[in-house]
Amino acid sequence: MKKLILIILLFCYMAMPVQAADLTAPTAPDQAQDLMPPDTESFGEGLLYVFKSAVEKLEPEIAAGCGVCLAVIAVVILTSLVGSFPGTTKNVTELAGTIAVACLLLGSANTLVKDAAATVTELSEYGKMLLPVMTTAMAAQGGISGSAAIYTGTAVFDAVLCGVISRLLVPMTYIFLAMGIASAAIGEDILKKLRDFMKWLISWSLKIVLYVFTGYITVTGVVSGTADQAALKATKLTISGAVPVVGSILSDASEAILVGAGVVKSAVGVYGLLAIAAIAIGPFLRIGVQYLLLKLTAAICGVFGSKKTTELISDFSGAMGLLLAMTGTVCLMLLISMVCFMKGVSG
């Protein structure tokens, strides 16, 4: 089977040297390159390789995360113990506990926020290099208006999303954490409400961008796909109306070019999909592990800790959830776009 694929690829390479030489996916960034499989022909195997490589590198992150969470649990136990002594002021011990927990968690949260922001930028940068290649490959296969529409849509939404995340949602995550800490320290209801509003605003901004993008891609896919199909049918009619021998030559050439362009587009697309996955998976797993650990810590601290401290730990896990949503949205948007390019002109 592999030999057959190789022969077909060789044939296509010989049939159209221009495409094979010019259309190659941009190389994945250095860090993602370490996770990339040596052979990117099979998407399923490649994805499994990327996942395995990323999980193997996760061990130190899990150890560090566990260390921070154990320290948090120790602080909560200590404040509960001190608070239970007669004569101690409950408010003071709670405030001290809140400050200690915030100090412990802010360091790792800050690193992960920066990690998420860098990943979003990296994904966006890679997407901007990959989009023109995929557009050219799809146009070479006959999807001229479809490819241009997907490119424009993805580039606009990517620029909007990347700009909003790096310049608005990331600072808003810090504000969300600050609100959470202030709410736990001061205990005012207004801060709690504003903190919840921040969380709602961030998650809905991401959801709305993704919904609108999916809607745009679906509608333009139908509209421009129909136009491309009509153009391809018109070309076939022109070819069939030509002088018999010329018609046969044109038909053979057109078929070979379209099949070859499809193979090249598929190869570029699979590499692109794997590169996007390789860029996103590392930070996604790191943040995901921290998210789960903090959820677990909040659940454990809920048993013996004060309500405010437990809420603060939940807020930190909520912030991790928001970071997951940010990286996930950008990654998903690029993946949807790539799949649309790979689907090409149907019918």
């Binding site: 050219t136 146009a139 001229i144 241009a148 620029a159 310049r167 001061i186 010329v246």
Partner: protein, 173 residues
């Protein structure tokens, strides 16, 4: 095709807008903290507590509403750069296909003529010229080499009939 950095135009130009929103959210955050501290210090009960809550509420409402009056929505220049880049990339793909197709058609047409020439015992060199249409079709041919008058007449007829290249566009040297 514009490079990756050039395609980032949207929020480089619109950066002030985002910074404005960021500043707005920060001012709400600061106002909320001030309100929370003031109401906490004044206490919940009594006239002072009620007055403090009222003033804090008014202050927060003012902080939330005031910048909204200054909002100017300007969406000009949102997509043109991207659509131009998209059209360029699509045009590159289209011309790539056309070039590759022209190469295949040219070589296949030349091979067809040479095949017929060999069958007529002629040794020829053939160069086919294609039309500049969207679908490139053979429009002219230049033939050179040894060929008998009978074979030449036969081949001329074949080229006209099978490939649609008129005798006037068949250049024999």
């Amino acid at each position: 095709m514009p490079d990756a950095a050039d395609q980032h135009g949207l929020f480089y130009e619109g950066g002030e807008r985002i910074d404005g929103i960021k500043g707005y959210l920060l001012s709400i955050f600061a106002a909320a903290i001030i309100c929370a501290i003031v109401t906490r210090l004044m206490g919940d009960k009594g006239t002072h507590g009620t007055m403090a809550k009222l003033i804090a509420g008014l202050f927060l409402t003012f902080t939330v509403i005031r910048p909204v009056a200054d909002v100017k929505i300007d969406l000009s220049g949102l997509t043109p750069d991207f659509s131009i880049a998209a059209d360029q990339a699509a045009a590159a793909g289209e011309s790539m296909t056309r070039e590759a197709m022209a190469k295949v058609i040219k070589s296949k047409t030349e091979a067809y003529i040479l095949d017929k020439a060999v069958a007529l015992n002629a040794e020829l060199k053939v160069e086919v010229t294609l039309s500049k249409d969207d679908i490139p079709i053979p429009s002219a041919v230049r033939l050179s080499g040894k060929i008998s008058p009978y074979a030449k007449a036969q081949l001329q007829a074949i080229i006209t009939q099978d490939l649609g290249i008129e005798k006037e566009r068949q250049l024999w040297t």
